[in-house]
Symmetry: C2
């Protein structure tokens, strides 16, 4: 078998079809998270991946820079979580790996505190702020996903690197998505499952 | 500006040119790390990214499944560290996100303990073992890179998820690569730099 020399991931067909219709400006944090929750809910119901979505916006204006979902199942790549996908789409659109270059103040909005991989991916992306609907074990309890070990002072570690953190936007609505997913018979696709 | 709908990353030209010439079977851990160290050293000297490389092999036979390097600068994607790149190439070659499916016993070999993002990426990939040349702050001291906050019991967390960890293969040779990089004037491209 020849060695692979490239890899790629694309948004699922249902989101591609809707992409032009997404709101291009989301002034409030609540509007931003409403879009994320809606995409997350649609994603698992469409079978594209887990109940996770994210957007990158201009923090001040709310201009939409990228929107993405978890496409692990659709792409065959275990790293294609919502955050990695969405950050990569933003970087592809802007043509640079550092989303904070040239004084840009970009924000990642996601429907829960990132897993340990996406925690790091957020840290290295150049976004200047992170907005999440919630944190803590409730996500794992409702969905069965393993989020991995993240340091206790995770938010202080972001702040120390110049990344502002806001927790608790549209919390109950995010939990409702996870609960619906957990009540379904969808695949939980952490390799070999969560720790007992 | 239209929203991006896909992203991709490729190996740099120098590695593409050498890909067919890579050894396809690496029986010992030392042979595996020798290849990783050689690719890591070449990578920063070619300007493709940081001094990091990784391979995925069959743990028992040493058959090479994928080889990759850090292509953050070349791809414009901040998540394209050596581990994410190499795991994604392996998944693309095998056509599945779970490298541990069907009883496969695949191993990630990398030239230092992964950063916090790649720590999670390794955990979710399905590899059954991780081999690193070393761990600890020496990498950050020599290169200036921020590796992010990783939990103190990082190796036990892998073992609890069925991922065996081996530390210390070709340690001095790996350190020599980092030292040469640190002594050069190469770009350290963590967004906004390391924490003081």
């Amino acid at each position: 078998m020849p060695l692979a020399s490239s890899f790629s991931a694309s948004l699922p067909a249902w989101l591609l079809a809707d992409l032009d219709g997404l709101p291009r400006v989301l002034p409030t944090l609540e509007e931003r998270m409403d879009l994320v929750n809606a995409l997350a809910d649609r994603n698992w119901r469409e079978g594209s991946g887990g109940p996770f979505a994210a957007i990158v916006v201009d923090a001040a204006t709310g201009e939409l820079v990228s929107a993405g979902v978890n496409v692990v199942l659709a792409s065959g790549l275990s790293s294609a979580h919502a955050e990695v996908t969405t950050l990569s789409l933003a970087q592809s659109a802007l043509g640079r790996w550092d989303l904070g270059a040239a004084g840009a103040d970009l924000q990642l909005v996601v429907n829960w505190r990132p897993c340990v991989m996406c925690y790091g991916a957020t840290m290295w992306s150049g976004v200047r702020s992170l907005v999440v609907a919630g944190e803590g074990p409730l996500l794992e309890e409702l969905t069965g996903f393993d989020e991995g070990p993240v340091v206790d002072d995770w938010d202080a570690q972001f702040e120390a690197r110049g990344i502002r953190v806001t927790v608790g936007v549209r919390h109950d609505e995010a939990v409702a998505v996870f609960r619906a997913y957990g009540d379904s018979d969808s695949i939980v696709y952490n390799a070999r499952g969560a720790v007992d």
